[in-house]
């Protein structure tokens, strides 16, 4: 990919960036405790709302809204987007998931601030440039959104929520997610290691 010097320079730049940004960061929480916390949040959604968590649905609603602004006829004619526009009596962004996702932002920010883990950096492996990483992140996001639309949910909606409800389709989705990720991991290793 590049000469040894360039690689070492990149590695040093990445390391320094991290070190500067997270000089006083606290260690991550025990995964089992974090998992229990997450599980209790999910349970509270079941008990209070009778539904679980999600994320991709908010993206779908957002896209439906934007398209309805730019090309209303096209949006109305598109069956997939129309599901998120309903009969037009409520604003597409007045959706449970949209507000939930805003909460995710706030909650993560809170946790990050408390743990001194907030810094403007680009997560990447030592061998890639920032530009490449950002491109891959964008591509990954687009890919995931496509997959989530097909699967009727993403890791939060299908794996987490559907998994705990023992939903057969969700378990199939969850296994496919892990399967697909492990299958492709070797091919994109250059991005992370």
């Amino acid at each position: 990919m590049s000469t040894t010097t360039d690689t070492l320079d990149q590695q040093w730049a990445a390391t320094k960036e991290r070190a500067d940004g997270f000089a006083r960061a606290a260690p991550y929480t025990n995964p089992y405790l974090a998992g229990i916390g997450l599980g209790l949040v999910l349970l509270s959604a079941f008990v209070v709302m009778g539904r679980g968590l999600g994320a991709s649905g908010a993206v779908n609603a957002f896209v439906a809204w934007v398209v309805s602004l730019v090309a209303p006829g096209h949006a109305a004619g598109n069956e997939f987007l129309q599901e998120y526009l309903g009969d037009g009596s409520t604003h597409p962004l007045k959706a449970w998931l949209v507000f939930e996702v805003l909460g995710v932002f706030a909650g993560a920010l809170l946790s990050g601030v408390l743990a001194r883990r907030v810094a403007v950096i680009t997560e990447r492996g030592p061998r890639v440039s920032v530009g490449t990483r950002l491109l891959m992140a964008f591509a990954g996001g687009a890919t995931m959104a496509f997959g989530a639309a097909l699967a009727r949910g993403c890791t939060s909606g299908q794996a987490l929520t559907g998994g705990s409800m023992l939903n057969a389709g969700s378990w199939a989705t969850m296994m496919a997610i892990f399967g697909g990720a492990y299958a492709l991991a070797w091919f994109v290793k250059w991005q992370w290691r």
Partner: protein
């Protein structure tokens, strides 16, 4: 107690949006606590260095599952009123695979990308910007995808249904599977070493 509260009409749509925000805060909080705002931490799952994704996810699943089971048994929660997505097996498997691909390419999932954006990650933002692009492509291709999208329609199916086992037995088996998986995870981490995976944000 009549739960789910919303499905028993205890509050309206407007309030439910406020609740959505509150629940979201909890969701985002624990995602970040676990370090899932960091792509490097997340993808370490798939290089077997750090299986936190598996640990957190299955702990959460088991916690919520046991909660639903016991609250349902106590009559506190009406489980049949909790929303279940219908099973469309083939597009869900295909979508799941694609989700998996996107996960290792992008380094996040939709929820964790929001968490990472909140803690300043530029790549998290890039990932989040990619999401609507992917959805838009799907929507545009929908007329051709629709047929496949609706295949494998098995309706509302649960694992106890499909496996022909009692609900309690499936719960027990899932707990066993999770505990076995956690043990296996620590073995794998021992073998593959957590060297490249961050225990905290500084690494």
């Amino acid at each position: 107690m009549n739960a789910p509260f919303f499905k028993y009409g205890m509050f309206g749509d407007e309030t439910s949006l406020v609740i959505a925000f509150a629940i979201g805060i909890g969701f985002g909080f624990f995602l970040e606590r676990a370090g899932f705002g960091s792509a490097r931490k997340l993808v370490s799952q798939f290089y077997l260095n750090d299986l936190a994704v598996f640990k957190v996810m299955f702990t959460a699943i088991v916690t919520a599952m046991l909660g639903v089971t016991y609250l349902g048994w106590l009559g506190v929660l009406d489980v049949s009123l909790v929303y279940l997505t219908p099973t469309y097996l083939w597009p869900q498997i295909a979508g799941g695979l694609i989700l998996g691909f996107g996960f290792v390419i992008g380094g996040y999932c939709p929820g964790t990308s929001v968490a990472s954006m909140a803690t300043g990650r530029v790549d998290g933002l890039a990932f989040a910007l990619g999401l609507p692009a992917g959805t838009f492509v799907f929507a545009e291709l929908f007329p051709w995808l629709k047929r496949f999208f609706l295949t494998g329609d098995f309706g509302l199916r649960t694992l106890p249904d499909v496996l022909g086992l009692s609900h309690g037995l499936v719960v027990f088996l899932v707990v066993l599977m999770a505990l076995g998986g956690f043990y296996g995870a620590s073995v794998l981490e021992g073998i593959f070493g957590t060297g490249d995976a961050p225990d905290d944000a500084r690494q």
